[in-house]
Assembly symmetry: C2
Homo-oligomer: 235 residues x 2
DNA sequence: CGTCTTATTGATTCAGATCAACGACGGTGG
DNA sequence: CCACCGTCGTTGATCTGAATCAATAAGACG
């Protein structure tokens, strides 16, 4: 079957342990399987949905990366998350009339799409699925609180060091290289996310490099001294 | 019945329109009713639960006020929310081994306690209850994102003005006085929440007063020029 | 190969933190 | 009921981290 490469079943998917199926029986995964859509890959810059769109689905990144952001009434943009392979997003739309977030691909990206009305129906039959969704939501709330602490209480170096270690840790969980990787987002995106100017991000990268913590070449990052970076996180 | 005053049923409760029962049938509210516990009032400073405690329940404020906060590995405290009458909290513990948040009463406070294992069982029978909990969680995520934008992108005056208008709006929804009210949290708590020093909060209060936006007497706040305050939010 | 975007680096400014001192409540016990 | 003490809030002076403004450099892409 030609579509085989794209239509990887959940049961075959290397990410399934990290995704929704984690708490489900084989049988329940098969029910989930039936409602999942795997659309054609998105290109860098493509929107998955925009603020104001009807809420239709949850999404899981299979490959590539996605950012989500809100725009407040005054036009201020705030990036609320970067999503890497195996990560579920789109939860802010649940039971809301419309999306208030926009989601955009940061590079060529493949997704699993979980249409929400069918997912919701499935939740009635499979309580553990509802429970798993709630767990993912409560994880998201906790992560948001950690980010708030970072942005509200830590200095610029600590913010960037924490960000980099978080990316590395998430790559590692997906068994992707975590010492040497490509950032898919711009300096300006990182700054927006961390509440810093893009110039500050640049300067911090330079400083980390001078301090022998990492090697930077544009978007390519090589972690050299993780303990050192970890120490910077607490400053 | 002597306990009548404390044991106000959900169906009688003025807050029920704002609380979980909003999406439930009378019958389902009665099921919910059966699992709700209404303990004796808490005094200022009492802990509802602390980080590390087992996750046992969700909570609704009936009167008084509660703050929740996290403490990161380095000991940094971050207040993650203030909860007023009718507001549900405790969601970060769902499907987690333990609380990572601490909840503390800011003044004499009455609560409704929803034991989670029973609530979870009820969710299997009443899909709209699960849906309503998910909605509250996704609300919380959205609010956290709004707070992140506030802390990461706005100046001190805008942060405090937004905070005050948000309190007023929430009081109004509960039909409580929203022009003239008592803040139950300290300057230091407000500063912690908004990512500012307590001295800065003090100075902003003074400035707002000089500008004729409000009158402050210690914890007593009287809003004078809401449009003016609103304008400060966008600066 | 030229153009456009993204990143880097430097100079200067500024908002808010920090340090320090004082004042005003409010709770407690005599 | 009043006086004391401790906490909380206010105000002032100074410092500093990061923003902003400005210019250049380095890729990316057509």
């Amino acid at each position: 079957m030609i579509k085989a490469k794209i239509e990887t079943a959940c049961t075959e998917c290397a990410l399934s342990r990290l995704c929704l199926p984690v708490a489900l029986s084989t049988e329940d995964v098969e029910s989930l399987e039936e409602i999942i859509d795997r659309p054609k890959p998105l290109s860098r810059g493509d929107y998955l949905y925009q603020a104001g769109d009807a809420f239709e689905a949850l999404y899981v990144v299979r490959s590539g990366a996605v950012k989500t952001f809100t725009v407040d009434p005054g036009g201020t943009e705030q990036i609320t998350g970067f999503y890497l392979p195996g990560e579920l997003f789109g939860l802010t739309g649940i039971n809301k009339p419309a999306q208030n977030t926009t989601a955009q691909a940061l590079e060529r990206t493949n997704l699993c799409v979980l249409p929400y009305d069918e997912l919701d129906r499935l939740c009635s039959d499979v309580p553990s699925l509802a429970r798993q969704i709630m767990k993912v939501m409560s994880d998201e709330i906790r992560e948001d609180h950690a980010l708030l602490t970072l942005v509200s209480k830590k200095r610029a170096e600590a913010r960037l060091a924490t960000f980099l270690l978080s990316i590395a840790q998430r790559l590692k969980r997906r068994q992707l290289p975590d010492e040497s990787f490509q950032l898919s987002m711009s300096r300006s995106d990182i700054g927006n996310y961390l509440g810093l100017a893009e110039e500050t991000i640049s300067r911090m990268f330079t400083r980390f490099q001078e301090d022998g913590l990492l090697a930077v070449q544009r978007k390519q990052i090589d972690l050299i001294d993780r303990d050192g970076l970890q120490a910077v996180c607490d400053s």
